[in-house]
């Protein structure tokens, strides 16, 4: 599992790749944690690009749930983009698709959550 940060205007885009399971969930939590701490209001919106995530178990869902709760507490926004079919299935079963804003692509997500970020994204 790897996480790469890309700052686009007021969006912290975290590109996640690999498997999020019982062996990698802690590393995922540690990588996400500083960005979740800064996720507040419109100043910093967190977007997780899941196009490279091939597997997620309940250990990974737990990390996402904790992040969602903290963001909500800080009145921040967290969204996900580009879920692969296996991840979509897990999100549907666990109803995470109704807890999180989920977009088909990163661009669609940026367009919905930050006009400034989508302009910067298109300009890159």
């Amino acid at each position: 599992m790897e996480c790469k940060l890309r700052e686009i205007a007021n969006v912290a885009l975290i590109q996640v790749a690999g498997r999020i399971d019982h062996t990698t969930a802690k590393a995922f939590e540690d990588a996400l944690s500083p960005h979740v701490a800064g996720c507040a209001g419109e100043e910093k919106i967190l977007l997780l690009d899941f196009s490279g995530v091939t597997f997620i178990s309940s250990a990974g869902l737990r990390v996402l749930m904790i992040a969602a709760k903290q963001c909500r507490k800080q009145k921040g926004k967290i969204a996900l983009a580009a879920l692969q079919p296996m991840i979509q299935e897990v999100f549907q079963i666990s109803r995470f698709d109704s807890l999180f804003e989920v977009f088909p692509t990163v661009r669609a997500a940026l367009q919905a959550i930050s006009p400034a970020a989508v302009s910067a994204y298109d300009g890159q």
């Binding site: 019982h22 178990s57 250990a59 749930m65 507490k73 299935e89």
Partner: protein
């Protein structure tokens, strides 16, 4: 198990054993000629079951898990998990409230609902001081 092509593996009851079990079943599915499309779901089922056995049946104490896989028909795989921990039927664990808002949603408790959704049937029995969980998974249409 009253099935064919049975293969078994015994592993220590620790979460590190998940990978051995998933590799074992993936190899079995390939050797049995089943399609590999559902292997990720099988890996998910195995991880959730093994983690639950380690945490609840053994309470993170040392122990073993016997793991069987077999074909019960031309399209179904049967997985059986046997442990000698305390009586534990994970199928009776209450599911979290899926309709709750983020603030009220429980953290955790999603493993068994995921397992239930991925399998065709799930049965539990306690026999000779052992927990026996049997799951059947449809691999081919």
């Amino acid at each position: 198990m009253p099935t064919t092509n049975t293969a078994s593996l015994t592993v220590p009851a620790e979460v590190e054993s998940v990978t051995r079990c998933t590799e074992f079943v993936a190899a079995w599915v390939a050797a049995a000629g089943f399609p590999l499309a559902r292997v990720p779901e099988l890996e998910l089922v195995i991880e959730e079951v093994v983690v639950n056995i380690c945490q609840h049946a053994y309470g993170d104490a040392p122990g073993e898990i016997e793991f069987f896989c077999a074909s019960s028909s031309s399209r179904d795989l049967v997985l059986e998990f046997i442990d000698s921990g305390k009586p534990f039927n994970m199928l009776t664990l209450p599911a979290p409230d899926f309709t709750a808002e983020v603030e009220q949603r429980q953290v955790g408790g999603l493993g068994v609902p995921l397992v239930r959704a991925m399998v065709e049937t799930a049965t539990y029995r306690r026999e000779s001081n052992r927990n026996i969980l049997r799951l059947s998974v449809r691999l081919a249409r």
